[in-house]
């Protein structure tokens, strides 16, 4: 190998090493943020449990059917690294179809002296229903949502209709944790890939020194490399071992 190639290899190694260090530093920072957000989330869950009761914030409240509201997309890059992107699905709007409605009979005390409405031509069925809704306290039929049976509902609703603010804060914290998890997964992939490239470059460099007469074993034992890394290095350098 010529001197210029050796210089190029060393320059590449330096760049990869600096990139490796930068990735590790970034990974550490993201880790700290992730850990603190998780701890914040636990603290909020504990506060919610304190106000709602032990049994009201537990695995017993999990729905029997769940649909994931967030997913992760993966993309393999040319350099062998993998990128992760999260995507949050927009939940159903509050407007529902009639299929989702269940008639619920609400039985209560009837109003004394219930008015006797004269059936005239002017009274339409819709107007009657409106009057019933406004005045009568008798049995009513109100359509309500099938909240419990909608798998795509907000998980917050597993714990009740009105949940304390700490539980909402916990949900917000864990949503951020999920976003960060994707970034950390990508960073981990980049760290491992950069490490592999560095070791290959190092082995290549040492083999080139060996071919120039210096003993590689004095510098760094190649037994540290895995079998696949050794084979790749030998193929790249066409060195007979």
């Amino acid at each position: 190998m010529g001197g210029s190639e050796v210089q190029d290899t060393r320059a590449n190694m330096d760049e990869e090493l600096l990139r490796f260090m930068d990735l590790l530093e970034l990974l550490e920072k993201k880790r700290e943020t992730l850990n603190s957000l998780i701890e914040q989330g636990w603290f909020s869950i504990t506060k919610a449990r304190y106000s709602m009761g032990n049994k009201h914030v537990s695995a017993l409240q999990y729905a029997s059917e769940m649909v994931p509201l967030v997913c992760v997309h993966t993309k393999a890059l040319e350099n062998g690294e993998v990128q992760f992107f999260t995507e949050r699905h927009i939940q159903k709007s509050s407007a529902e179809s009639s299929d989702d409605l269940l008639p619920v009979e609400d039985i209560g005390p009837q109003e004394e002296g219930l008015r006797r409405r004269n059936k005239t031509k002017k009274d339409t069925p819709e107007k009657k229903d409106t009057e019933v809704a406004k005045t009568a306290k008798g049995p009513e039929v109100n359509p309500v949502r099938k909240i419990d049976q909608n798998p795509q509902q907000d998980p917050l609703k597993w714990f009740g209709i009105l949940v304390p603010q700490p539980l909402k804060q916990a949900q917000s914290s864990f949503k951020q944790v999920i976003e960060l998890s994707a970034e950390i997964a990508a960073l981990q992939s980049a760290v491992l890939r950069t490490r592999q490239k560095l070791r290959l470059s190092l082995a290549k460099e040492l083999n080139s020194e060996k071919s120039l007469g210096k003993s590689a074993k004095e510098k760094c034992p190649t037994s540290d490399l895995t079998v696949s890394e050794q084979k790749e290095c030998i193929q790249q350098n066409k060195i007979v071992v």
């Binding site: 490796f20 590790l24 550490e28 880790r31 992730l34 850990n35 998780i38 701890e39 989330g41 636990w42 869950i45 504990t46 914030v57 537990s58 695995a59 999990y62 729905a63 029997s64 059917e65 769940m66 649909v67 994931p68 509201l69 967030v70 997913c71 992760v72 997309h73 993966t74 993309k75 393999a76 690294e81 993998v82 992760f84 995507e87 949050r88 798998p151 998980p155 917050l156 539980l167 916990a170 949900q171 914290s173 864990f174 949503k175 944790v177 999920i178 998890s181 994707a182 950390i184 997964a185 981990q188 992939s189 760290v191 491992l192 490490r195 560095l198 190092l202 004095e218 510098k219 760094c220």
Partner: protein, 119 residues
């Protein structure tokens, strides 16, 4: 890679699973197995390991989140996983804070160089 997104799985204690399910990652229906496992005091190591391996075998899971103290129980299985997907992230638990020296990924990155390399 376009198309339907992958799931995020979680193996953790009750509060960890509750938190992430609140975040909206949970999938549970009659046909498919859940993408989460709540580890309690009486959960066996075998069950944890089998669940972890089943998550790795599924092609619709992109990230596996696992409490570090649970990861320690199945360290050999985690160290044996070298593929990029699904990515395995170790997270702290309430009783066991995160320890970078135990993280599989960082341990692999740790033994990069020896002192001889810089001579």
């Amino acid at each position: 890679m376009a198309g339907r997104g992958k799931l995020i799985a979680v193996i953790g204690d009750e509060d960890t699973c509750t938190g992430f399910l609140l975040g909206g990652i949970g999938e549970l229906n009659k046909n498919r197995k859940p993408n989460f496992l709540v580890v309690e005091k009486d959960t066996s190591v075998t069950e944890i390991e089998e669940t972890f391996k089943s998550f790795l075998a599924r092609n619709d899971i992109g990230i596996v989140l696992i409490n570090q103290f649970i990861a320690e129980m199945i360290r050999h299985a985690i160290d044996g996983h070298v593929q990029s997907i699904p990515a395995v992230l170790e997270i702290p638990s309430k009783e066991h804070p995160y320890d970078a020296s135990k993280d599989s990924i960082l341990r692999r990155a740790k033994g990069m160089f020896s002192a001889e390399d810089f001579r």
